[in-house]
Symmetry: none
Subunit: 474 residues, 2 copies
C-alpha cells in the first residue's frame, strides 16, 4: 500500500467531506467537533471510533477481557496497530495559549506541528514499555512539549531550560490525583490537544494518525475520558468508577434541581469529562443508563447499611420475564455487538426470539413462517439499534425511523435491558398487537428501568412506546 500524495482536487473544505484512501471520511461537522475537546461526548467519540475502526484496523478497542456477564466477544477485525502517532504535538498546550480564554479568532499555527510522514497502515513497533494503566498519563507522558519551531528537529531538548512556558517548575507530566479539572499551561492537560486540520488539509496524515491513536484507547462510557477497564460492568474511567462506588455506598439519592431545564442534563452535563462533576444526579443517572450495575458494588459494611434508601428506590428488581428477555438479548445480540449484514441480523434475531419462550410461543413454529415474521420485525429492531446503541447498522438504511425514534429524546444511549425491552415490545406489537399479558409486563419493566436510568426525561417511556410497532414499519 502506498500513500497517495495529497491532491488539491480532493480538498473540499469545509463543505464537502474530505476523503483519503485508508482513512475514514471527515466532514465539516465532525471536524469542528473533533477540534473542540470541550464538547466531546462518549457517544460521539464511540461513533467516530467505530468509523475509524472500519477504515484503520487496529484502532478498535481491543480489550480482550469481557465482563463475566456477557462473554460473547466481538473484536471483528484483527488488531493490527498502525502507525506510530506523533502525539508529541498532542500535548502542545504547554505553549499554546490557553484556548479557553481567548480562542476567539486565533488562527492555529498548523505548520508548527511536527512533520511526520506516516502511511496509515504502516506497521508499528511494540511500544510496550512504561505503559501506565491510567491512560491519561500515557497521553501525558508523550507530551514533552514541542518547541516553537517545529521545523528544526531538536529531539533532544533535554535541557529543561529550553521550555517556553512560564512556570519554571519542571513540571512532572503526571496528573495529580483527585483533580477533576485540567491545569492550563501545563503539560498535564488531560484532554490532549489534538492536532488540527489545516485549512488546506496539508497535515491530513499527521492529524488522522493522531486521531486513530487517540481512538485506540478505550473510552469511558459515562464521560468519554480514558477508560481503565470494566468497572461495575461498564468501560469507565477511574473517576466515574469511584463516583459510582461512593454513591452506592452512601446510598445517596441525587436530585437534579434543574430537571427538564437543567443545562447540565445528559448531553451537557455528565456527558463529557469537562463538566462531569457539575451535576451528580445526571452523572449518576448516566452511570445507570450505560449499564453500571449496583450489584457489582460490594456493600458489606454495616456502616453502609444503616443509611436508608431515601428517594429513588435503588433496589429495583427486574421481573423474571424481563430478566429472561435481557439475558437472551445479551446472549445473542447485545448492544456491544455490531450486526454486520442482513443475514447476520436475521440469525441473531432468530436466536434471540427462540431463547425467549414468551416470545417464541407467540410466533409461528413453521420455519418459513417464522422467517417471514422476523423479516417483518427486523426493520424495526434494526432501527431501534441504530437509534439507541452504538451499532452503526451500515448495511441497512433506516434514517427515517431512526429520526422518528430519537426525536426529542435527550439521552439516546440505552443499555442492553432497555434495548431488549424495546425490541421485545416492538415484536409483540407487530406480531400480536400488544394484547398478550407479557406485553404489559414488558412495558412496566421498561417504564421502571427508564425511571432509573433516565430519570430526567418525564414521559420518555410513553413517547417511546408510542413510536414502536406499526409506526416503525411505516
Amino acid at each position: 500500500f502506498q500513500m497517495v500524495p495529497m491532491n488539491p482536487e480532493l480538498m473540499h473544505y469545509p463543505n464537502q467531506p474530505h476523503m483519503m484512501p485508508g482513512y475514514p471520511m471527515i466532514n465539516a461537522y465532525q471536524q469542528s467537533y473533533l477540534q473542540n475537546p470541550a464538547q466531546w461526548t462518549p457517544e460521539m467519540l464511540l461513533c467516530m471510533q467505530m468509523q475509524m475502526q472500519q477504515m484503520v484496523p487496529g484502532t478498535a478497542t481491543n480489550s480482550t477481557y469481557m465482563p463475566p456477564q456477557s462473554k460473547n466477544t466481538v473484536t471483528p477485525n484483527a488488531t493490527s496497530p498502525l502507525s506510530q502517532i506523533s502525539d508529541r504535538d498532542s500535548g502542545n498546550d504547554t505553549i499554546s495559549p490557553p484556548l479557553t480564554s481567548q480562542n476567539s479568532a486565533t488562527t492555529p499555527n498548523y505548520h508548527n506541528q511536527p512533520q511526520m510522514q506516516l502511511t496509515p497502515l504502516q506497521q508499528a513497533k511494540p511500544e510496550k514499555e512504561e505503559i501506565s494503566p491510567y491512560a491519561i498519563n500515557n497521553i501525558l507522558s508523550s507530551t514533552q512539549s514541542s518547541p516553537d519551531n517545529g521545523n528544526e528537529a531538536d529531539d533532544k531538548e533535554n535541557s529543561s531550560v529550553r521550555r517556553n512556558t512560564f512556570p519554571a517548575s519542571s513540571a512532572s507530566t503526571k496528573k495529580p490525583r483527585g483533580t477533576p479539572y485540567d491545569r492550563t499551561n501545563t503539560p498535564m492537560t488531560v484532554v490532549p490537544q489534538m492536532p488540527q486540520f489545516a485549512p488546506d488539509f496539508s497535515n491530513y496524515n499527521l492529524t488522522m494518525n493522531a486521531w486513530s491513536e487517540f481512538f485506540k484507547k478505550d473510552r469511558c462510557m459515562v464521560c468519554g475520558d480514558n477508560s481503565t477497564g470494566y468497572h461495575y460492568g461498564v468501560q469507565s474511567c477511574e473517576g466515574c468508577k469511584g463516583f459510582f462506588r461512593r454513591s452506592v455506598h452512601k446510598n445517596i439519592a441525587y436530585v437534579c434541581t434543574k430537571g427538564e431545564n437543567c443545562t447540565f442534563s445528559y448531553e451537557n452535563c455528565a456527558a463529557n469529562r469537562g463538566v462531569r462533576t457539575r451535576c451528580q444526579a445526571c452523572r449518576f443517572a448516566k452511570c445507570l443508563a450505560v449499564g453500571m450495575n449496583r450489584d457489582n458494588v460490594r456493600v458489606n459494611k454495616e456502616t453502609d447499611k444503616d443509611v436508608k434508601p431515601s428517594v429513588a428506590s435503588p433496589n429495583f428488581e427486574m421481573t423474571s420475564q424481563v430478566k429472561e428477555l435481557t439475558a437472551a438479548f445479551v446472549a445473542n445480540m447485545p448492544c456491544s455487538t455490531h450486526l454486520t449484514s442482513g443475514t447476520h441480523a436475521i440469525g441473531a434475531i432468530k436466536k434471540f426470539i427462540e431463547s425467549v419462550p414468551a416470545l417464541s410461543s407467540l410466533l409461528p413454529k413453521d420455519e418459513k413462517a417464522l422467517e417471514m415474521s422476523i423479516q417483518k420485525v427486523m426493520s424495526g429492531i434494526l432501527a431501534i439499534r441504530a437509534a439507541f446503541t452504538f451499532d452503526p447498522i451500515t448495511f441497512y438504511s433506516c434514517e427515517n425511523p431512526v429520526n422518528l425514534l430519537r426525536g426529542g429524546i435527550r439521552n439516546t444511549v440505552f443499555n442492553d435491558c432497555e434495548v431488549a425491552l424495546l425490541s421485545g415490545i416492538h415484536i409483540l406489537q407487530i406480531v400480536n398487537g400488544g394484547v398478550a399479558e407479557i406485553f404489559t409486563s414488558y412495558c412496566q419493566g421498561l417504564r421502571h428501568q427508564l425511571s432509573q436510568t433516565h430519570l430526567q426525561e418525564i414521559g420518555l417511556c410513553d413517547r417511546l412506546l408510542m413510536r414502536l410497532g406499526p409506526y416503525l414499519n411505516q
Copy 2:
C-alpha cells in the same frame, strides 16, 4: 564550592550587571524592579525565579506530586533554604509600625539586616513542620527567624524567643481573613519587604539568599501573591480564586475606566495588593489572560441571566512620551525601512535620538562624544531590528544577540511602536543605566503595548526587558 568574597572591581552599579559566581546576573532593570515590591508582577517574578533556579538548584518550585514509588529522589539537589526571611513588616496591617506609616523617603537600613554567610549551594534541612497552605501565614510565622549566624546549625529553633532584627511584636501570627487593606486604609504590603541591595552590594549574599528563599514559593499568576495551588487551571492565590469564582457566578461585566492609569492593568498590574483602587476589570482580564477557565466554575444558579458576559478590555492610550518616541522612530527609521549600511544606520539613529528630547538630553551634546555613544548603542539597536522586524540588516552580523533576543518568543514580528520602545529602552540602559524617569515610562509603555498586541505571551515584556542593555552588548 567556596564563596568568592565580594570584589569591588566587579561592582559596576548601576551601569553594568552585577555578577557573582553561583548567582544570576542582575542588571539595572532587574535591580530597580526587585527593590520596588509595588511594581512586582508575577511574570517578572517567575522570570527571575527561573533564573534563580538555574543558578541555585533547589529554588525551583517542586510542588508537583510525586508518586510514592519514587520516594528516593525528591529534593534532587540541595535545597538551600538560605536565610530566613524577616518579613515581619509584611503583614503589618494589623500591627504595622514601621514602613507603612512613614515610608516616605526612609533609606533602608541595610546593615541592620541579619548577617548571614551562606553559600548558595548549601545543604538544606527538611523544614517540614507546620506549613500552612496559606503561604502568607508561613511568611508571617517565619518571623521566628533564624539567628544571625547562619553558620551554626540551628535545626531546632524551637524557642520562640530568638527572633530576628526587625522589630517584632509577637502578635498573632495569623492573618485576619478577608482583609485586603488595613483599617487605616493605608497600602498594605503583604508581599514581604525583601532586603534590598545596598549601593555597594555589601549585602549581596544576604539579599540573594532572601530572594532565592522567596522564589521557592509558588506565585499567583494573577497577582504575584503566594499561591495555594491550582485554581481554575492556574496557580493562584485564595483571593484571585475567590474573585474569579464570584465574577463568573455573578457574570459581572466589569468596565475599566482608568485606562493606562489603572493599577491593575496589564502593564503595571498585579502585585500591587496594597493599592487602594484595585481595578476589577483588569483583574478579571488578567485572570482570563493567564488561563483561568470559566468552565471550571460550577455555575448552578440562574440568578444572573440578564448580565451579559463582558470582555472587560480596558482601552489604553499611549502616553505622550511613548507617542513622541514612536513618532520619531517612524519618521527616521521605521520598520518598513531597510537600513542598508553602517553609515545609513548611524545617521538614522542619530536623527531618531535627536528627535526625542527625552533621549537627546541624556546624551552628550558634543558631536564627537555623541557619535561614540551612538556607536555603543548601535549594535543593540540593529540586533533588535534584525530580530523583530523584516529589515535584514545585511551589513552587520549579529547572530548571537538576535538569537538571544528571539529565544522563546513566539511572535517575533513587532510593530513600530514596540521596536521604538525597545530601542529607546536599550539606549537608556546603555547610556544611563536605566535610572532616568523616562525609563520607567518606556517600560510601562512597552508592557502596555505588548499586552495589546501579544496578549498571548504572558511575561513577554519582562523577558524582553531583561535581555536588553548590557546583555545585548555582551
